[in-house]
């Protein structure tokens, strides 16, 4: 049973990888793009670029319609009430930094910010630095044995001084869905704002943000089969109203004088400078492409591949998973073998996997590891990719042991 992906041919990168004898298993770092996304990028530039929101001419109107159309597609994808709730940024990381500056005025010394112990640096350091600027206490919610944020401890730690909770939906290292609903309820009960890092979670399944009821949700396009250089910040209307402006210039200005200025509300008020117009339009195309797939078939394919990945890894002596992943990826170490050595020998054999600390140094330290290897899947991955990886891993271990 070779588990071919029926969508593989939609992604031209695999023809190139095939020619170079490369096996791509690093989709959690960035995903390949379908032809539809490449066509949208080329179509925008070849059809005549123009700036958005600030011209009366026809090319400007066309660009603005396409750009705002992409915003509406993102809103629909997340089941947001309105496109006004979608702010375009450069990346998920920038979205969180925007929040950490835009919400800074709401914090006073002694307030607490709660973050998960498994956060990617992007959802840790902006809060850590905010805490340092404002004299706040950063409360780290510990993990249980399975690798999830421990709800009993979270219940104790999220209290009346908690002003904000920031957690990942799906861990980029452990591959486990976090108990978001329960955590968000704890934050709500204390009147704390909530931020969900959806960088990994958004790629697997559709998520209804009205049902999830977080205040803010962030993700980047490049992991969701879209282009790089564009990220998304979703906010509930009341939460967006609490943001202060953080970058100035461009279309975010409503009225400007030499000594004072007024600024637009979200979303435009938080999109200083010319936005990434082509990438935004291409993100819209990525969502159209995904919308055209049978979501259940995609989920079933990813689940079957993931099961195959875990079964194959378990067959190796001395291999330990960092956690029992739910979906999409697996991180592991091999007893007595340094992950850098393994990564190097896999790379020599054309296997593209991620090695190291996965932008989560505190988590790795907390797990007692100096690093790990991570294999991650996309909807275009297939059984043969895994077979080549297993063979290369076997070969590398034979050399190193």
């Amino acid at each position: 049973m070779s588990l071919p992906s029926p969508w593989r041919a939609d992604f031209p990168a695999f023809a190139a990888f095939g020619r170079d004898c490369q096996t791509y298993l690093d989709s959690a770092a960035t995903a390949q793009k379908p032809q539809a996304v490449l066509d949208a990028l080329l179509g925008y530039y070849a059809g005549g670029a123009a700036n958005v929101h600030r011209a009366q001419h026809a090319p400007g109107e066309r660009a603005t319609l396409a750009f705002e159309g992409a915003r509406a597609k993102v809103a629909a994808w997340l089941n947001a009430d309105s496109a006004e709730q979608i702010v375009f940024t450069r990346s998920a990381t920038e979205s969180i930094n925007l929040l950490a500056y835009g919400l800074e005025h709401l914090f006073a010394a002694g307030d607490q910010i709660a973050v998960g112990a498994l956060e990617h640096h992007a959802n840790l350091l902006p809060w850590q630095q905010l805490a340092q600027r404002r004299g706040l206490e950063l409360v780290v919610l510990p993990l249980d044995a399975a690798g999830d944020i421990d709800l009993e401890q979270a219940e104790r730690l999220i209290g009346p001084r908690t002003r904000l909770l920031a957690v990942s939906q799906l861990s980029n290292v452990l591959g486990r869905w976090q108990p978001l609903e329960a955590l968000l309820a704890l934050a709500r009960a204390q009147g704390a704002l909530s931020v969900v890092d959806g960088a990994q979670g958004v790629v697997h399944g559709r998520h209804d943000l009205q049902a999830l009821a977080c205040d803010f949700y962030v993700f980047s396009a490049h992991k969701l089969y879209g282009p790089d250089g564009i990220g998304v910040l979703y906010g509930r209307p009341l939460a967006l109203e609490r943001l202060r402006h953080w970058q100035f210039g461009g279309e975010m200005v409503q009225q400007a004088d030499y000594h004072s200025a007024r600024f637009r509300p979200a979303p435009l008020g938080f999109e200083a400078g010319t936005p990434a117009i082509g990438p935004a339009i291409a993100l819209g195309a990525a969502l159209d492409y995904l919308d055209g797939l049978d979501g259940e078939a995609v989920a079933a394919h990813e689940a079957a591949l993931h099961a195959r990945l875990l079964a194959g890894l378990r067959a190796f002596d001395g291999l330990q998973l960092l956690a029992e992943p739910h979906t999409a990826l697996a991180s592991f170490v091999v007893e007595g073998v340094h992950n850098a050595d393994l990564a190097q020998l896999l790379g020599e054999q054309g296997i593209a996997v991620r090695a190291g600390q996965h932008c989560a140094m505190p988590l790795l330290r907390c797990l007692g590891r100096t690093g790990a290897l991570r294999v991650s899947l996309g909807l275009y991955s297939e059984g043969d990719d895994l077979e080549r990886f297993f063979a290369a891993l076997h070969h590398a271990l034979a050399l190193l042991r």
């Binding site: 850098a340 190291g356 050399l399 190193l400």
Partner: protein, 139 residues
């Protein structure tokens, strides 16, 4: 410039290497040749930062010529350190400044190990050697 004896040996061994597998085996063998570091030498003060794996580097000068010792917890990186140390053994501070690291690794067929996407930190190690030699000269 005449190469140190160990460097000539490395050149001969690696130049005849037909593929990645043999090169990997050779790197593992060369890694075993590193002078071992004591536990007390594997400390923060000797850590070279900028490497994903842990790397320690110590240097001492005798009669104006430098002798370095290095270690790492990753075995292939130990091999890369060994061929780097072979190249710089017994150099003066001035000669150390002039070492062309990309050229040396290219001659060994190990160019890819220096690419910017690699985090093995060989460039950081050479930088640290030059700092150690530079500091000493300034004293």
């Amino acid at each position: 410039m005449n190469l140190p004896a160990a460097a000539c040996e490395a050149l001969e061994a690696f130049a005849q290497c037909p593929g990645w597998e043999q090169r990997a085996r050779l790197l593992l063998q060369w890694g075993e040749r590193l002078e071992p570091l004591g536990d007390e030498e594997r400390c923060e003060a000797h850590r070279v930062h900028g490497c994903e794996s842990q790397v320690w580097l110590l240097g001492e000068r005798q009669d104006g010529r430098w002798h370095f010792r290095a270690g790492s917890d990753a075995r292939l990186l130990r091999g890369l350190l060994a061929v780097l140390l072979a190249r710089v053994e017994g150099l003066t501070a001035e000669e150390l400044q002039a070492v062309d690291l990309p050229d040396w690794f290219a001659r060994l067929g190990l160019s890819r190990q220096l690419s910017p996407s690699r985090s093995n930190g060989l460039n950081a190690v050479l930088q640290r050697m030059r700092e150690l030699a530079g500091q000493d000269r300034a004293c």
